[in-house]
């Protein structure tokens, strides 16, 4: 189990560097609480909307409409919500990912691809707004096109590599 080895190495390194592991762990975990507090409302709003969207039959209609395009691109329709919210909101993206996990399982083809897509992309519009907003930059020059291109690259590569690794 590579993760176990990783955690072991980290703890040993910390012990050698004489870090108070208990205090450091506690302080880090304490920061998870505000994070969960900000995630919940975003998640609640989007879960309510997607739950209704599915129950109403609108999701099936949209699915039927988009299926030819998505099949041609090799994109599973279950990935669409994740791809749509990823650039805007990290909380909503985690919601979309866990939704795929709940419906299809984390080890299903689509669960694996969704994991890769989430892990290799970033909440670009939030990051841009935060960083540039903090110092009052209005003209961002080539940043937005470059960030969008990076996003497209990671989505295309994510789907491609998932197909390669986990079978088409």
């Amino acid at each position: 189990m590579p993760v176990a080895v990783l955690i072991l190495a980290l703890l040993l390194y910390a012990a050698i560097r004489r870090v108070n592991v208990f205090e450091a762990f506690r302080a880090g975990a304490a920061r998870a609480l505000p994070l969960m507090k900000t995630i919940l409302p975003t998640l609640a709003v989007f879960s309510a909307a997607t739950s209704l969207f599915r129950a109403s039959g609108a999701a099936d209609a949209l699915h039927a409409l988009l299926a030819p395009v998505l099949n041609a691109l090799g994109v599973d329709p279950a990935l669409v919500p994740l791809l749509l919210v990823r650039p805007f909101s990290g909380s909503a993206a985690v919601g979309a990912l866990t939704d795929v996990f709940t419906r299809y399982g984390p080890d299903s083809r689509v669960g694996l691809t969704a994991s890769v897509l989430l892990g290799s992309s970033e909440t670009i519009f939030y990051t841009l707004a935060l960083y540039f907003g903090s110092v009052g930059i209005r003209r961002t020059r080539f940043t937005v096109p470059v960030a969008l291109f990076a996003m497209l690259t990671s989505a295309a590569c994510g789907i491609l590599f998932s197909n390669l690794f986990f079978g088409a």
Binding site: P2, L10, Y13, A14, R17, A24, A29, R31, A32, L35, M36, L43, V45, F46, S47, A48, A49, T50, S51, L52, A55, S56, G57, A58, A61, L84, V85, S89, A92, V94, T98, F101, P106, G111, S115, V116, G119, S120, S121, E122, T127, L128, Y131, F132, S134, V135, I137, R139, F142, T143, V146, A147, F149, T153, S154, L160, F161, L164, F165, F166
Partner: protein
């Protein structure tokens, strides 16, 4: 986000009414919000564990050690970073280690220092654009929280996605960096 949400809700309600399922609207909405609580509880294990462990890594000096290793990369990407150099390398190192929360303060510090040396206030400098591009493509050595999330949903091999994730975020970062270098130094290719 607002428009996406409104479209989802309006289409959902309209489709329910048209198909005679108007009575189910409230139940469907509340199922959703109740689900959100379950999701947060289920993901809490991954967040508590990894934010704890990553803070141990930071306290042990892993971010600082990595940021020293990055200095040749920094010279290439940020030739005119000046005083912001240290903050930039700490930001990149924290990002590489998957510590989004630790990376942000360093990143904002770097932006502040870069802006102090900005000859044209309000217009992004080359270094700012490159910093954002690298931050927007999120290369991580080990996507710990993602692996943790997969484990909390019962994956039998949570780390199976690590290699394809690395490859695809590396491709995105490479694309962003190459585009940025092309945008910031157009003359070099001609000389």
């Amino acid at each position: 986000m607002n428009i996406v949400l409104l479209l989802l809700l309006l289409a959902g309600i309209a489709a329910s009414l048209l198909s005679g399922r108007g009575d189910g609207v409230l139940a469907a909405l509340q199922d959703g919000t109740a689900n959100a609580v379950g999701t947060v509880l289920k993901t809490s294990g991954a967040y508590l564990l990894w934010m704890g462990l990553l803070n141990v890594a930071e306290q042990a000096g892993l971010v600082r050690a990595l940021s020293k290793l990055l200095s040749p990369v920094l010279r290439l990407l940020f030739p005119d970073a000046g005083r912001a150099k240290e903050a930039i390398s700490l930001n990149l190192a924290a990002n590489l280690l998957g510590m989004g929360n630790a990376a942000t303060p360093y990143g904002l510090d770097a932006m502040r220092l870069l802006n102090e040396a900005n000859p044209r206030p309000g217009v992004a400098t080359n270094a700012m654009c490159v910093l954002l591009a690298v931050n927007a493509s999120c290369l991580e050595v080990f996507p710990a929280t993602l692996v943790g999330l997969r484990a909390s949903f019962g994956s039998t091999d949570p780390a199976a996605v690590v290699l394809p994730t690395l490859l695809s975020s590396f491709a995105a970062t490479a694309a962003a960096v190459i585009l940025c270098l092309a945008c910031t130094r157009p003359c070099r290719s001609r000389s």
